[in-house]
């Protein structure tokens, strides 16, 4: 059955911003789907609000709409583009939810659009808990005993039947938002409320507890001819009770007999058929009672998912690509297996290695958040590793996390010596439980003891025990007397050189490099094996490789001219999709230049780890040891370290010292910008200024600095990433408490204090240099005042409040910096503009988080251009080549910017909803997980779109609560007037209300929380507020306003915590309202990014 000829144009719905539960994996699936459908000759229309994605590259789809993923905007796109079909299964839960909404509104019917890949009935059946259970039963599957409730009364009745503990599962949520185990009546009320609030249809499933059972998952593909295959089975190391996204998972399934596995497989296939998934990929999760083998179905997703991305990377089978092709009518047997070429995609991959995925958490960003893991996902990323055995894969995955760990043992937990306490602690699943398990076993806990505490399967514990026993066996051994045989055994168990050096340092200090030298002297090096879908049964044509300590390499290294690109590792706050975008672009550009590209990365969600992104893919940890071994076998002419964010940058000096050829800006130049002293010298040479600053190694020194420099001060530890532990302090008391509580201060680890430039405009500049010529790629103006981390602030391009003279000055300064820092490639500079003076905040000679945004808005793929610059071509040559657009005109940025006839605004998206109690206030420490873009011919229009896209839609009526800090009060007068004119009622706390009255503005006064009920939080909880503008004073523990903010987050009420953003919001509402008076909808339409760029 060949592809369908009756459809020509297909709309793909993306997943929007990166949030917890929905990350890069949907960019990966989206890119695969777009490419697969284009390859078949279809016209592909794409909607995704996330500008950092590769899928929204203007070169990929035929028309790309960077617009909110809401029924309103998608209808506009459908009305304009008139696609024949919509593929809703590629963009995660977001795409499925909006599809259901569009269907309910009759949009598909209205425009004669067909859904392909999944039908509404199937989506509903999988989503609706009750319907799902019935279908599962019909298909002969066991369900957990459970009760579906929509009211508190029903819930109380259900709890009487179920007893404690039981599980709450809200309907239709991402990553299990609002779900969790309830252990006692004390927490019943709170957890029920959270669940009901999270569910868009106010529906909960209360379920028998399966805590401690095994959890497994099958990835299934089905075609319209009812051919169905299981691509991969995945077993969770963490027993039931921890969300799969937060669990350590292993492929293939390790602890089921074939009889059990086949029953499971039969059930999964029957279920998928019964649900009515016509074509495509879906996952089915099961829970298995380890004592009886009883199998309970937990859930299924009729779409590609985080697990399907993992399964694709784990097996080499491209689930999203095949799903897209099945959706247009192919059957599995008609599609080739890309890797073997000779055999069809209709098979079940056999793997001859072990895959371990470990989630990456960022609790350090949210110190008050609960680290106990449950059914609501909390991790922000993941690392995957491949090894020939489980211990090897596990230890590789652990060092891929980039949390400073170099394996299972030897981390911070090494200081715990109380085994009894550890055995109690490991009973509770947290982000670091596995390390505590390792430590307990290191101290002598038996497999049985650990099993009793954790219910982690004996098999995993026995394998972990192999690592512990072997590492323990060399404790106290000196390097010289380490038997080579033992060294080999340790390497086979995945023990890193770094960890081994640590163990052997008991008497004399052993360095990682000592172990490396010993290994190399004895020719102990890893070999590289291929991920080939078939356990070597057939020849494979895609060099998708992993390292292992075994005897034979089948990697077939070439002698081509090649470049290695080091990727960004697991997603975390501060480092995510944007860097993957850059790495992928580097691979694309260098391929276009005829250079062999080699990608090294360990993040299974990404496009960069798709086997056809680069010529060769090494799925490996990004540590010095692992990278050096790859360089040893590949012998590249250059290594790119400036695209993967902090991860490869941290390696750059170390690699350079080992003689690795790093291309682009030299590690020394990078170091200059990071070393404050060298950097100051450089700035004065260029004639630029910085805020006054100082360094302090004691609290007394800090006070001295504060006296010299003056408050407010921006303070931070000397080594920080993503603004870790940065804060603004306003007086001596705040400074003292910061130093006492937030950081360890010593002569090794001084604190840096900068005069905080309050009320300054912050500007991000992306720029490029080929060593001869310098260009500014984009000047972005932040909407919030300086002081908010650039990853969290919203910003606009082209800038709005910078004069031509200022832009000229910024351009000139940036070019001077490019020259004097000897930049080869990209550089990002952050400036603050205060009272007409331009201060340099930070210089980063590497790809920045804003590069994808800038590239899309100005229409030049800067990451590609810079990659080729690094490989030796000049901007002039590339401009003449023409394939990346007219670069020449960027020799004068001012003229480019002035010609842009549209505006793009980036808005950040935050994970606060997942961390109840965490303050939603923005500051110098980055907290956002993702971003959206609004683009329009007007600024308010762009702002409005960005707000809708970031799920912070601006209300049209209702009550606005205003509570602003003293210095903002005068500025909010006009805003309040405008709000009244727009028909809003203003609610304010006494102080603000009185102040407004003195300016003739009437508002209703309400109690602060501490003034007693009924207070503002009561009102917010009752749903009486439709917009909150809250700019708090200082950084102290402002309990009152903090409760307001967290309640707003929980109740999903639009919230602005800076006056600048609130002002933009009011302008946008004004424009919308005036258009509405003329009977017009605002924004009135949609344009594709290709249209904006004039293509």
């Amino acid at each position: 059955m060949p592809k369908r000829q009756d459809i020509k144009k297909i709309l793909i719905i993306g997943s929007g911003p990166i949030v917890i539960g929905q990350a890069c994996e949907f960019d990966y699936s989206g890119v695969q789907a777009v490419k697969a459908l284009k390859e078949e000759g279809y016209t592909v229309i794409l909607v995704n609000s996330n500008p950092a994605t590769i899928m929204t590259d203007p070169d990929l789809a035929d028309a790309t709409y960077i617009e909110p993923i809401t029924p309103e905007y998608i209808e506009m796109i459908i009305a304009k583009e008139r696609p024949d079909a919509v593929l809703p299964t590629i963009g995660g839960q977001t795409a499925l939810n909006v599809t259901l909404e569009l269907d309910e509104l009759g949009i598909f019917e209205k425009y004669g659009v067909e859904l392909i890949g999944a039908n509404v009935q199937a989506i509903k059946s999988a989503e609706d808990r009750d319907a799902f259970k019935k279908i599962a039963e019909k298909a002969g599957l066991d369900n957990a005993y459970s009760i579906c409730v929509t009211t508190y009364e029903e819930a109380y009745a259900a709890v009487k039947k179920l007893g404690y503990p039981f599980i709450i599962r809200p309907s239709r949520t991402l990553g299990g938002s609002g779900g969790g185990a309830v252990y006692s009546a004390d927490e019943l009320e709170v957890k029920l409320r959270r669940g009901f609030d999270a569910s868009p249809n106010h529906e909960l499933l209360l379920e028998e507890s399966l805590l401690g059972w095994k959890e497994v998952e099958l990835e299934v593909m089905r075609d319209k001819a009812n051919n169905a295959v299981v691509i991969c089975g995945i077993e969770n190391l963490d027993p039931m009770g921890v969300h799969t996204g937060d669990s350590i998972t292993v492929a293939p399934i390790q602890t089921l007999t074939d009889k059990e596995y086949q029953v499971l497989r039969d059930k999964a296939l029957r279920l998928v058929k019964e649900i009515g998934v016509d074509t495509g990929g879906c996952n089915v999760q099961f829970s298995i009672d380890p004592k009886t083998g009883r199998q309970i179905v937990i859930e299924m997703n009729p779409r590609v998912s985080r697990s399907s991305a993992l399964a694709s990377k784990a097996t080499g089978f491209p689930i999203a690509k095949i799903a897209a092709k099945l959706a247009v009518g192919y059957t599995l047997d008609e599609l080739p297996n890309d890797i073997t070429k000779m055999t069809p995609a209709c098979f079940e991959p056999s793997i001859d290695y072990v895959v371990v995925k470990i989630p990456r958490f960022t609790f350090e960003k949210f110190p008050v958040a609960d680290r106990v893991l449950g059914t609501q996902m909390k991790s922000v990323g993941e690392a995957m590793a491949i090894g020939r055995t489980f211990p090897e894969a596990l230890q590789k995955a652990l060092r891929s996390l980039e949390t400073g760990r170099q394996g299972l043992l030897g981390g911070k937990e090494s200081k715990y010596d109380n085994l009894d306490q550890l055995l109690i602690d490991i009973a509770v699943p947290t982000d670091n439980r596995l390390f505590l398990v390792g430590r307990a076993m290191e101290l002598g806990a038996t497999v049985e003891q650990v099993f009793q505490a954790t219910k982690i399967d004996y098999w995993f514990l026995n394998e972990i025990d192999k690592i512990i026993k072997k590492e323990n066996s060399v404790k106290g051994v000196e390097l010289d007397s380490l038997p080579i045989e033992t060294l080999v055994e340790l390497k086979k168990l995945g023990t890193s050189d770094h960890r081994l050096a640590q163990i052997l340092s008991s008497k004399t200090k052993v360095k990682e490099s000592d172990i490396r030298k010993l290994r190399h002297k004895n020719s102990i090096r890893p070999v590289y094996k291929t991920v080939d879908t078939c356990a070597a049964e057939f020849q494979s044509f895609t060099p998708y490789l992993y390292s292992t300590y075994d005897s034979h390499s089948d990697s077939n290294v070439t002698n081509n001219k090649k470049v290695i690109i080091l990727g960004g590792g697991p997603n975390r706050i501060g480092q995510g999709l944007e860097f993957d975008y850059c790495c992928v672009h580097a691979a694309m550009a260098l391929r276009e230049a005829g250079i062999e590209t080699i990608m090294v990365n360990c993040n299974p969600e990404t496009v960069s780890t798709d086997y056809d992104t680069s010529d060769r893919l090494y799925f490996e940890p990004l540590t010095l040891e692992d990278v050096l071994e790859i360089i040893h076998v590949e012998k590249p002419f250059g290594v790119i370290v400036q695209y993967g964010g902090q991860t490869p940058l941290r390696l750059s000096m170390l690699l350079k010292d080992e003689g690795v050829p790093i291309i682009g800006t030299s590690p020394e130049a990078i170091d200059t910008t990071e070393d404050r002293r060298k950097f100051s010298v450089l700035l004065s040479k260029v004639g630029l200024i910085q805020a006054d600053s100082g360094t302090a190694s004691t609290i007394e020194e800090a006070i001295d600095v504060s006296v010299k420099v003056g408050f407010p001060l921006m303070v931070r530890p000397s080594f920080v990433l993503g603004g870790r532990a940065m804060a603004v302090v306003h007086d001596r008391a705040e400074l003292e408490s910061y130093i006492a509580e937030s950081v360890e201060v010593s002569y090794d680890r001084p604190v840096l204090l900068d005069r905080f430039l309050d009320d300054a405009i912050e500007v991000d500049v992306d720029s490029i240099s080929d060593g001869k010529e310098q260009m500014v790629c984009g000047i972005i103006e932040h909407i919030e005042r300086a002081g908010i981390h650039s990853g969290d602030s919203s910003f606009i391009l082209p800038s709005q409040n910078l004069s031509a003279e200022l832009i000229e000055e910024i351009e000139a300064s940036t070019k001077a910096l490019l020259r004097d820092c000897n930049v080869l490639g990209l550089m990002n500079v952050q400036y603050a503009i205060r009272k007409g003076r331009v201060y340099v905040l930070e210089v980063n000679p590497r790809a920045s988080r804003s590069i994808p945004f800038v590239s899309k808005v100005v229409g030049i793929p800067w990451a590609k251009v810079a990659a080729r610059v690094m490989a030796g071509e000049s901007l002039k040559e590339l401009s003449e080549l023409g394939i990346y657009g007219d670069l020449n005109k960027f020799s004068n940025y001012q003229s480019v910017a002035s010609k842009l006839n549209y505006f793009a605004i980036k808005e950040s998206v935050f994970p606060f909803i997942k961390f109840p109690g965490v303050d939603a206030l923005l500051g110098p420490e980055m907290k956002s997980t993702g971003e959206v873009m609004g683009i329009d011919t007007t600024v308010p229009g762009a702002f409005l779109r960005a707000q809708v896209a970031s799920s912070n839609p601006l209300p049209t009526s209702g009550k606005v609560f205003i509570s602003v800090k003293e210095s903002d009060k005068i500025h909010c007068v006009n805003m309040a007037k405008s709000l009244l004119e727009l028909g809003f009622e203003i609610i304010a706390t006494k102080g603000t209300s009185d102040f407004l009255l003195t300016h003739g503005i009437k508002s209703k006064s309400i109690n602060k929380v501490r003034e007693g009920s009924p207070h503002i939080v009561d009102l917010v909880n009752e749903g009486g507020i439709s917009l909150i503008i809250n700019t708090p004073e200082g950084t102290g523990p402002l309990l009152d306003s903090r409760t307001i903010r967290s309640t707003a987050i929980e109740q999903r009420i639009p919230l602005f915590t800076t006056l600048a953003a609130a002002e933009q919001a009011v302008s946008a509402m004004q424009l919308r309202s005036s258009e509405a008076k003329l009977g017009l909808r605002y924004p009135s339409g949609v344009s594709s990014i290709q249209e904006y760029l004039g293509r």
Partner: protein
């Protein structure tokens, strides 16, 4: 820590792999010889080891961790281990599964089977894929490599080898066990057992035992047959004396062309009884119908090959275990090719409608492996009752 005894695997072409012995005590030396083959299934090692079709072969498992779920008294396909050797990357000494009764190393030891672990099995598989199946020797005597190579070279090749007499039953018997039942809330699992009374009313199938897997017998019983198993050299006359309603030709080891008596019996019964054959039984039916076999370079062994049913167009994920295949170009005109392997287009199933005889090269009884093709037992039953 477990002290590991060194062992080596030597192939007839001189290739050597060093590893550790499995299934042998520290103070005894042992040697095993056989055709080295590889199986890509990731589960079901106990079923595979006890499958009589592996007689004379040493099995390399491509999945690196073997033995994770131990062994038990239910997951068997015959009364003993038939493979002559086991070759793995890693063997689990501490199994984990609620049904496990014994670790795999202990099970091998009790069955007197030698294995080798700790070798680069992917390297071995690539070698076999490139150079074809090889005779190999696993030995704990690790210093006489050239002797071992010589011994491997002189060992008989599979081609022309009749291994059926080693595995067929000595005398006819009745089979009464049905399908597996497990995963119940009480944790009990068992095979359904049928009484003589129930069985007495059913159509009788005589199954010629060329090395039959238990699960074929279980599924024939489960679908509604009364099953009598007979030795491979049972004559057509003897078979007819049971007054059967149908004939089943089982799987088994070795070269089908060498099983001349089985081919003869089949020829004699063609057209007289509905016939269903699996694996070796399929090859024998093919030869009886005029289509000879050839030896595949390295065979098909695993649980993931796509087989397309040419009649329905449906693709089945099949269980494979064969080193020989029916020559496509020799298939007579009146024989329908019903199933094809989508990986290499080899013949996976034939039907002689005029003679009411059909067969498949692969293993619809699975165990281990996917159950996609179990419908063939129902097809057979329908053919018999409609006959």
């Amino acid at each position: 820590m477990h002290h590991e005894k060194p062992a080596i695997l030597v192939l007839e072409d001189g290739k050597v792999f060093k590893g550790f012995a499995v299934g042998v005590g520290e103070d005894t030396d042992k040697e095993a010889i056989g055709e080295v083959v590889f199986n890509t299934a990731m589960s079901g090692y106990q079923e595979i080891l006890t499958d009589p079709s592996y007689t004379g072969q040493m099995i390399t498992f491509t999945y690196p961790h073997i033995g994770n779920v131990g062994t038990n008294s239910q997951d068997i396909e015959s009364d003993k281990v038939h493979a002559t050797g086991l070759i793995v990357k890693d063997i689990a000494r501490n199994p984990s599964n609620y049904r496990s009764e014994k670790s795999l190393p202990q099970y091998l030891k009790d069955n007197n089977i030698l294995g080798i672990s700790g070798i680069d099995t992917r390297e071995l598989v690539l070698h076999l894929r490139t150079h074809g199946s090889k005779i190999g020797i696993i030995s704990t005597r690790t210093n006489n490599i050239s002797d071992l190579v010589d011994k491997a070279k002189t060992a008989p090749n599979m081609e022309g080898l009749d291994l059926v007499p080693n595995v067929t039953c000595k005398k006819a018997y009745d089979w009464k066990e049905g399908a597996w039942c497990g995963l119940q809330a009480d944790g009990k699992s068992y095979y359904t057992s049928y009484s003589d009374q129930v069985l007495s009313t059913r159509p009788l199938v005589v199954a010629i035992d060329f090395g039959i897997k238990y699960n074929i017998l279980r599924l024939l019983t489960e679908i509604g047959f009364r099953v009598k198993v007979v030795p491979a050299n049972t004559s057509a006359t003897e078979i007819m004396s049971y007054k059967p309603d149908a004939l089943f030709l089982s799987n088994g080891p070795g070269d089908p062309a060498a099983v001349t008596y089985g081919i003869e019996t089949t020829k004699n019964l063609l057209g007289k009884l509905p016939i269903f054959g699996i694996c070796l039984g399929h090859q024998i039916l093919g030869i009886a119908l005029g289509a000879p076999t050839f030896k595949l370079k390295f065979g098909h062994r695993g649980g993931n090959h796509p087989v397309k049913n040419q009649i329905t167009g449906h693709v089945e994920i099949s269980v494979q275990n064969h080193g020989f295949a029916t020559k496509a170009e020799t298939i007579p005109k009146d024989i329908i090719v019903t199933h094809l392997n989508l990986n290499d287009n080899t013949i996976e199933g034939i039907d002689a409608p005029d003679l009411n005889a059909f067969s498949v090269q692969y293993h619809p009884e699975c165990s281990p492996g996917p159950s996609d093709s179990q419908y063939l037992f129902k097809d057979f039953y329908n053919r018999v009752v409609n006959n």
